[in-house]
Symmetry: C2
Subunit: 217 residues, 2 copies
């Protein structure tokens, strides 16, 4: 059976423009998570879990940059557009390059789900659980987490593979996401993640709702 854990790994915004210290858009601790991300992606592929690389690539005229970021994006040299090179490029770092069998998607906003085809593909693949890694925790990881819960996916986050500008932001955002129902897993615990222990709260709730004979109203 393909993908027995019915899961997908979503790798978010790990592009040079967000992780290189020389870029104006650098997330302070993102580069340090590259080895952990790379390891998590290899583990996922080994388990038959499809890997989705969901990255920003901005339009060169800025028409798809958030208004609240537009001026910083212009000042920072219009990074991560089709012509961007070096530290400003949207290339993924060494060890995280897309592999045959991976899905690559471009997202126009924070959440990997926001006006992308991610949900459509996950449904087609019968995925029930999304496993989130990448950057930044308070923005792209968190909005993807909430959208995932809203679209009825089980959400798993690997905190060792996520990054924030400060330790407090990282900690409090992880706590908020755990409180709202995301499951935080260490890389070590993820090594043992398979169909036998994949969380299936959504499946369980679907069964409970199906068994409830109250009229919906």
């Amino acid at each position: 059976m393909k993908n027995p854990a019915k899961s997908a790994m979503i790798v978010i915004d790990m592009e040079r423009g967000f992780i290189e210290p020389e870029s104006a858009h650098c997330i302070r601790t993102a580069k340090a998570t590259v080895p952990a991300c790379s390891k998590a992606m290899a583990m996922a592929r080994e388990k038959g879990i499809p890997v989705f690389l969901v990255n920003r690539i901005y339009r060169a005229d800025g028409s798809d940059v958030e208004s609240t970021r537009y001026h910083a994006w212009v000042a920072g040299g219009k990074a991560m557009t089709p012509g961007s090179t070096g530290m400003l490029s949207y290339e993924m770092p060494e060890g995280m390059e897309p592999q045959p069998g991976d899905y690559t998607l471009i997202k126009p906003r924070f959440s990997a789900f926001f006006q992308t085809e991610l949900d459509l593909i996950l449904r087609r693949l019968r995925v029930e659980t999304v496993i989130l890694i990448g950057t930044t925790t308070p923005n792209c990881i968190r909005t993807t987490c909430y959208d995932g819960i809203c679209l009825d996916y089980n959400v798993v986050i690997l905190p060792e593979c996520c990054s924030s500008q400060t330790e407090e932001i990282q900690r409090v955002n992880m706590e908020d996401m755990e409180r709202v129902g995301a499951k935080l897993l260490s890389l070590e615990a993820f090594a043992a993640y398979d169909a036998s222990n994949a969380p299936s709260l959504v499946q369980e709730v679907c069964a409970a709702v199906a068994a409830d004979e109250t009229h919906p109203e």
Copy 2:
């Protein structure tokens, strides 16, 4: 001119089931914000700013409760469904009842935008800025803030009219939202809010993009 500030006030989840201490779903500091919310809503109406009351009303069979909250919702007496009464009801507290001219919407998830007609109505009304009040800061206010930014609205938040389970959650979430581009306004500052000082970053960025002759690619 109707609504000269081109703004809308979005009042989120201020229902008895979320604010009464006797409800299992009570947000600790929500009830204390009722007078501030009531004042903010009166100010908005006076300024010609439409007020949108966006609340949860769960289906009685639980089919639209987030999976991560389903068990707590059942254990808490299936609050905020069409038949709920008293402390479990979806009634708004005294002083915050809908007034003639307000819009009332039901939302199925955290964000006031998620699969509701809010964006459609705001576009039709030519609204450029959403002003958020209600509960809870880390969930419904924050997801609405991010969706608002993503959908190209200026986002204003009145922190005195928002609530969280702890002071740390309230503080760090407000800081995250400010950092991502929301404008935090005191009630006092909101008293002076009108067309002459309504933030219009989105309008300014639209003009900058229109003036940029780079091909989009």
